[in-house]
Amino acid sequence: MDLSLTDEQEFLREAARGTLSRFKIIEAAREAQDKGLGELPDLWPAAREAGWAGLLISEEHGGAGLDVFDAMLVAEETGRVLAPVPFLGLVPATAILDAAGYDGLAAIAAGEVRPVWIPARPPGDLEPAWTVDGPGAARPAAPTISGEGDSVTVTGHAAYVVDAPGADLLVVTGVDGTVAVVDANAAGVSVEQVVRYDVTRALAHVTLENAPGTRLAVDAAVAADAWYVAQALIAAEAVGTVQTTLEMSVQYAKERFTFGRAIGSYQAVKHELTEVLRRLENGRSLLFYAGWSRADAPDEFPLAASAARSAAGGALDFAARSNINVHGGIGATWEHDAPLYFRRAQLTRRLIGGHGDATDRVAERLLAA
């Protein structure tokens, strides 16, 4: 029984933290809120250099051949600083492409070609079809992939696709659970960037109209796995963000005095922050479950990844609000950092199925067991 990180994992995490620390991301995010996305640093060159593009790609194709748990360690670091790096949309795409033995893996591993995954939710006991994110409670059907053989055409729409702006390749799961790759610059492809509340999260609406694509040699299990990989990554990101907000809150609670006492000495504040810690630790425990099961017990991975997202997402919601509350009125002002984490929590809660769907999926798996 040893859950400690290997030396390689420690190094990967420290390197990620070091890479991201070279950028003043939070400051840039505040600027971007006033002046536009152009204020954000371009983190992709640094990410390429750090080898994040090929983390999950097997070594024979030029990648590092690491596990999803390793990618989660990086995601925790990006979450800590709200890094606007196209990692969440990338990793599930590379998981599928690697499984398919896709031709262009070397260029992808090198970061020369950046793929993005269009989130597609696997069918469940209440929703028998593959669906994508869209407005409203009824989830739209995933795109249609037509044609026999390798060359296909793809038609459909997906809203709020994370990291789609600027991507080179779209990895599209069809309503039937098959997967195709579409060149983002191909005819019939529209990638419309949108901003929703959190400037550090790149989003686009993707529309495909008879777009030409290439079918990948993977079955629906690989497409489903990508969904849970994304859930695990969001969970890891969220754990990182919660860690940051808890540090902020604790620091302030020690320094801010009222009625002659540091506010952290009052039970109301102290117990709220221990509640953040409780949720954080539960989320972190489930990151281990997700990472372990992806490698060693794949049958449990959908449950583990969904639970991780549910717990970490709930922790982030709670921590982001709590952080503002502990800071009092000043924590709810434009110039303060606390709202940036709140914005992250608000948007992430509604992306890639949303936290609510992850919780429902936990129940579904438990009820079916």
Binding site: P135, G136, A159, F257, Y266, A268, G329
Partner: protein, 407 residues
């Protein structure tokens, strides 16, 4: 149980309604004045309308007649508020001045102050703002650090910063709580001043909230010289004067209680158009709980009005309505954005604005924790927390805090 007016109240209501019908054409439209400094024309119209309301006896309803008021009770004020709402007309511009600061001047001001300031305040010619809170004096208001140092000629020089100041950007005067004596315990060394907002050294800066809108201001005072005649209620007596303002603040909130526009029907309407959401038991459970809370507030406010009409002043427990409102609205924002999805978070969307506004509202006017302390002690009779800052000179407090000597 009778939700209707008494005959006297009905007659008063009829009188108010008639006046409003006769003058409605003179009223501007209803619009937020929060960022109002940017639209001088609209502000001027609101000032003029307040003047007309004062002439018609619909401003300063509870003020004594000798100061231009009507000498009536809070229930008549509520009737005026209700009729304004019913007619879709804006009320007075200077709710803070007429509701809280004017009554404080009437209670504690000198005769000269009353005759100089109350008239222009009532008629909207001079708007007032309340300058109590500071960055390090929010929940613990008696911790104000703004210094007022007496000069050889008896005047005072004020230095420091205030924050969360509503309407400062278009106010003529501020009622300022400042510290005149640091050698005595913190509640005892404060004094209340009338500060002209155009005095040299006064700087007003908008304070943007999460939404990006400047709902409040910061006000900086740099060597602002204020004559001794501007002291309200006596030197070093500022805490008692401030408590009067806070008491009237609670009364004003009790009389208003419009719930910030957060009501069950509005939230339900946002969900009923989505047929999947409307049949989702989890959505319905959340909506049912939110709706229940907000429906309760309607009759909670009737209970407050009923008590007011019998001459009772709302106790601190009326603050629980704010807790209920804010938390229900937060839950509603979460629910609606979950159903609508990220489009609800588009900055131009009404729900994004609400979601951004609520975290600030949660701590505005005192945190939920302080409110629960007060209610637990004053309503339930539970013992207070130990106070470690009692009897210690203000000048020694910070040092003692830092070394943990109080704990």
């Amino acid at each position: 149980m009778d939700l209707n007016d008494t005959p006297e109240q009905a007659a008063y209501r009829e009188k108010v309604r008639s006046w409003l019908e006769a003058h409605s054409a003179e009223a501007p439209d209803v619009r937020s004045t929060r960022a109002g400094a940017e639209d001088a024309g609209y502000l001027a119209a609101r000032r003029a309308w307040q003047g007309k309301l004062a002439e018609g006896g619909l401003a300063g309803v509870t003020w004594p007649q000798e100061f231009g008021g009507q000498g009536l009770g809070p229930i008549e004020q509520v009737i005026v508020n209700q009729e304004l709402g019913r007619a879709g007309l804006p009320g007075i511009l200077d709710v803070i001045g007429i509701g809280m600061l004017g009554p404080c001047l009437i209670a504690h001001g000198s005769d000269e102050q009353k005759s100089r300031y109350l008239g222009p305040m009532l008629h909207g010619d001079e708007v007032w703002c309340q300058m109590f809170s500071e960055p390090a004096a929010g929940s613990d208001l008696a911790a104000v650090q703004m210094r007022a140092v007496v000069q050889d000629d008896g005047s005072f020089v004020l230095n420091g910063q205030k924050v969360w100041t509503t309407n400062a950007q278009f106010s003529s005067y501020g009622l300022v709580l400042a510290r005149t004596n640091v050698d005595i315990p913190k509640h005892k060394g404060m004094t209340m001043f009338i500060v002209p907002m155009d005095a040299p050294g006064v700087t007003v800066r908008g304070l943007r909230q999460i939404s990006g809108e400047a709902e409040f201001n910061e006000v900086f005072l740099d060597d602002v010289r204020i004559p001794a005649e501007n002291v309200v209620g006596g030197v070093d007596n500022g805490w008692g004067t401030a408590l009067t303002v806070l008491m009237f603040e609670r009364l004003t909130i009790g009389l208003g209680s419009e719930g910030f526009g957060y009501n069950a029907a509005r939230f339900a309407a946002a969900l009923s158009s989505d047929p999947v959401a409307a049949k989702d038991k989890a959505v319905r459970k959340a909506l049912g709980e939110i709706g229940t809370d907000l429906l309760a507030l309607r009759f909670a406010s009737y209970r407050t009005l009923s008590a007011l009409s019998q001459g009772q002043i709302p106790g601190p427990e009326s603050g629980l309505a704010k807790v209920t409102t804010v938390n229900a609205a937060i839950a509603a924002g979460d629910l609606i954005a979950d159903v609508v999805g990220p489009d609800a978070l588009d900055e131009d969307n009404e729900w994004a604005y609400m979601i951004s506004f609520l975290p600030g509202l949660k701590s505005a006017g005192g945190t939920e924790q302080i409110l629960r302390n007060t209610i637990g002690e004053r309503v339930l009779g539970l013992p207070p927390e130990p106070r470690l800052d009692k009897g210690i000179p203000f000048s020694e407090l910070r040092a003692k805090e830092k070394e943990g000597a109080l704990a």
